[in-house]
């Protein structure tokens, strides 16, 4: 086991070095990629800034509470972007051009290989900026208890598991249909659910929709519920769910990945 962990750490170090070299090769592109991310994050923040010009509360949260939510959502997103997004974005191309076969023959876990080969260095500045934004927004809250920030050590990995498994499962579908590029746009649409506070869904369908977004399609676990751990009273039920959910999601994703691999006919000659 110790050997296995060491092996994966070494592989990951190699991936990081290769990604750093590749990203810094085209420096102007690298700089503009960072700018693009800031445009995206700014646009997400602007939505609520504009809406709060017309209303005092959205989903039960005032503007300061919403800032905490948004910065937390963007912080989680930046981690996801650094670790996995560039791999998932090129996955469909790999399937179509037959390059996936090469990855599958490597003597490492195929899920790890297909999801972690490329690390997006250009998103690292976003990680620091969004984290600073989160700290700033928490500082704006009157009487915020800073010890609560430790909840994020459990809640952020839990939220990341939702993004990882959701995106991985959608990508796996490409193995069944050879070309499914547009599934990634479906993901971007679904991900919007995670960029909205769960409170806005409380008044719909007697709160059933909110429960669906926590327990069935758990997009609320990405940032909404973690924000509640910072802003509201402790909820033991949700903590247990945040601990159990990643295992369930990873188990199901692994099963689905294996099913798709079994039915994969390979596009290369």
């Amino acid at each position: 086991m110790k050997y296995l962990i060491h092996k994966y750490i070494e592989i990951y170090k190699g991936f990081f070095k290769a990604s750093l070299v590749a990203d810094l090769e085209f420096r102007f592109n690298f700089f503009l990629l960072i700018c693009a991310e800031f445009v995206w994050y700014a646009s997400q923040l602007v939505i609520y800034q504009v809406l709060y010009r017309h209303t005092k509360l959205i989903g039960g949260w005032d503007q300061k509470q919403m800032q905490v939510f948004m910065f937390l959502a963007l912080f989680v997103d930046s981690i996801y972007m650094i670790l996995w997004d560039s791999n998932f974005s090129k996955f469909n191309d790999d399937v179509r051009k037959g390059q996936l076969d090469l990855l599958l023959t490597k003597p490492v876990n195929s899920m790890f290989m297909t999801s972690s080969q490329k690390i997006s260095i250009s998103h690292i500045p976003c990680f620091f900026v969004t984290f600073s934004g989160l700290l700033w927004s928490l500082n704006q809250l009157p009487e915020f208890s800073w010890i609560k920030i430790l909840w994020l050590l459990i809640m952020i990995p839990s939220g990341l598991s939702v993004i990882f498994c959701g995106r991985f499962a959608l990508n796996s579908t490409a193995l069944l249909f050879t070309r499914a590029d547009f599934l990634q746009y479906v993901w971007y649409s679904l991900f919007r659910l995670g960029l909205r506070p769960d409170g806005i869904y409380s008044s719909l369908m007697n709160g059933a929709l909110r429960k669906i977004l926590i327990f069935i399609l758990p997009f609320a676990m990405i940032a909404s519920i973690p924000t509640r751990f910072l802003l509201d009273a402790f909820n033991p039920g949700l903590l247990i769910w945040a601990l159990i959910m990643p295992s369930i999601l990873i188990y199901l994703t692994n099963k689905y990945w294996k099913y798709c691999l079994k039915n994969y006919t390979s596009a290369s000659s």
Binding site: N29, V39, I47, T55, F182, Y185, R192
Partner: protein, 267 residues
């Protein structure tokens, strides 16, 4: 005549290529618009219900639902990810050599394909916003849709010219994916897909409407939902034409310079 036949052939090529993988096409034409529309509707219903609001920025819930249905739909039409990536790839990889030897320009070759593809997906996925609007009895003036779509398709010329500029930059800088990202993310805001301009401060709203990018989403959606009159739509045509004029000159200069510096290799 030969000009039209040539361009029509490339439009058909785009349609056939995209229909080859039907599952992928089904996602693009139906599934993704349906999900996006559903999520937008949820957001606006939730904002109004959770605050028990009657109006927001002077407009009712139904007006925002109509915007939430039509803005993502037109936003998908008025954006180019796939063809811009292909154009950039052609220039960066040298595949452009094949097109340069053909009796069609690089600009035309991809414009015909873009138009063919957009026409097909728009026509087929129009069913989604139409049926949702009818089901929810949204304040949509259906007789205004043809003019609104005409403006969006006119705007596609401007959009394609921007893609042409980005791909021409690939003559000088091999990696230009960042340009596509910045451009498309900026258009997401400037076109009005992100949030209706009606909620913005008046001065900013007027500036954004005056820019040609608003003709991609805000102006056509506002027109069919009765927020603006036909004069603003005509202003949109003028603004796009002016933008097209400026960008055409710019694209011509970049293309000429890029081509003169380009060395095509390969058999």
């Amino acid at each position: 005549m030969a000009f039209w036949r040539k361009n029509l052939a490339f439009s058909q090529l785009a349609i056939v290529t995209n229909l080859e993988y039907r599952f992928n096409f089904f996602i693009d034409a139906y599934l993704q618009p349906l999900i996006t529309v559903g999520i937008e509707i949820l957001l606006w219903i939730a904002i109004f219900e959770s605050n028990e609001l009657q109006t927001l920025g002077g407009f009712t819930k139904e007006a925002y639902l109509a915007y939430g249905v039509w803005a993502p739909f037109l936003g998908r039409v008025a954006i180019s990810w796939m063809y811009e990536s292909m154009m950039v790839e052609d220039v960066a990889s040298g595949n452009i050599n094949v097109i340069l030897t053909r009796p069609i320009s690089f600009y035309e070759y991809y414009l015909s394909q873009l138009m063919g593809y957009k026409l097909m997906t728009t026509f087929l996925s129009l069913l989604v916003p139409l049926s949702v609007s009818l089901y929810f009895k949204l304040p949509v003036q259906y007789d205004k849709i043809p003019l609104a779509l005409t403006l969006v398709f006119f705007y596609l010329f401007l959009l394609h010219t921007m893609s042409f500029i980005v791909s021409s930059i690939a003559f000088f800088i091999t990696k230009v994916r960042s340009f596509t990202l910045i451009k498309n993310l900026s258009l997401f805001v400037l076109a009005g897909e992100l949030i209706p301009f009606d909620l913005m401060p008046p001065l900013l709203k007027n500036i954004l409407i005056a820019l040609p990018f608003s003709s991609g989403v805000y102006i056509p959606v506002a027109y069919i939902t009765g927020r603006i009159d036909v004069q603003v739509v005509m202003g949109g045509f003028v603004s796009v034409a002016a933008g097209l004029f400026v960008l055409s000159i710019l694209s011509y200069l970049i293309w000429k310079k890029g081509l003169s510096e380009y060395t095509g290799t390969g058999a």
